[in-house]
Symmetry: C2
DNA sequence: GAAATATGTCAACATGGCTGACATAATTAT
DNA sequence: ATAATTATGTCAGCCATGTTGACATATTTC
């Protein structure tokens, strides 16, 4: 029989290790881009906007709001700065001329890729340190953490961006 | 030979999936406590303070600052509210009477445990959905994401809190 | 032509970071 | 014993980024 004092947690004892590791890992994960962005006078909010616009060229403002789960006023502030400084452009929708479809400029793409490279370096280091199959395991774990309702939408977003990106390559 | 157009990523293509899953997973992960805290008039900052104080009873203010990587002024604001409202108490250090050692009150512990239970529920759901060994895999992945310099310190902090918690049980 | 939609903007406010300066009490070093 | 250092707290103000509410404009749909 199992030794109940060893591996078995006390009744409903929280999973302290993963709770705290998620906190520390995420803190470190965003610290690299944060540092780089600060040298441009940008913050985390700019990063998020630029990231998703770069990944999903031609996305609608409404879609971005939905992804970021912030208000249009909050978005407006950082988006305006990104547009004014030439990192993002807005083009009138062809079908629907009310839409202002978002695109990263080459300058914007360069910055987005540079930031993604920082995060990729950290992830690659982690994956290299552990065995093969870690990428899949990490993907499965993170996916399972998502709200069940929003899960499919997130996965669709990622898959769709991957497809269009590969198509352009 | 491998089909280079399939699994092999293009040259230095970022790990988009994990980058984005980390963003979405963390967003959802903190959303449960955020919602609960809002009903107490508290925010994420209060959560972090209460969490670590509850996990490390008798910790020094300086240690908490080191963990959270914020300034004493930022800490002071939320800590004062937690103390004033009876969630945390400060006791003079026995050896060094300059220290104000931090302890969660029973009220504070109750709230901390309630928030931890929310996060644990999400993690448990994810782990149950995946195979056994997922807890270990997740722990290894998150640990590997940490800054190498701070890694040992984080692991020591978690291990030490676990030990003293078990000792009290 | 009216209603709904996509977007933008103004104003005001809250949270939680930050810097800089200074204060107090207690400990440690000379 | 005095001086320097340490642990902590506090005041004042600034910044980034979130919020709500109200309103404006252009365009599309009914």
């Amino acid at each position: 029989m199992a030794d109940e004092t060893a591996a078995a947690p006390a009744v409903d004892e929280p999973t302290w290790d993963l709770i705290e590791l998620l906190f520390f890992a995420y803190r470190d994960f965003v610290s690299d881009p944060d540092e780089a962005l600060a040298r441009f006078g940008f913050g985390r909010a700019h990063h998020r906007v630029l990231h998703f616009v770069n990944r999903n060229p031609g996305m609608k403002v409404a879609d971005l709001l939905e992804i970021l789960k912030i208000t249009k006023q909050s978005l407006g502030r950082v988006l305006k700065q990104l547009v004014d400084q030439g990192y993002v452009v807005q083009k009138e929708g062809e079908n629907d001329r009310r839409q202002r479809l978002l695109y990263a400029t080459s300058k914007g793409e360069a910055l987005a890729m540079r930031l993604a490279a920082l995060q990729t370096a950290r992830i690659a280091r982690a994956l290299a340190e552990l065995g093969p199959g870690t990428h899949d395991a990490a993907r499965r774990f993170l996916t399972a953490l998502l709200d069940p309702e929003g899960r499919d939408e997130v996965l669709r977003l990622i898959a769709r961006a991957d497809r269009t990106r590969r198509a352009r390559a």
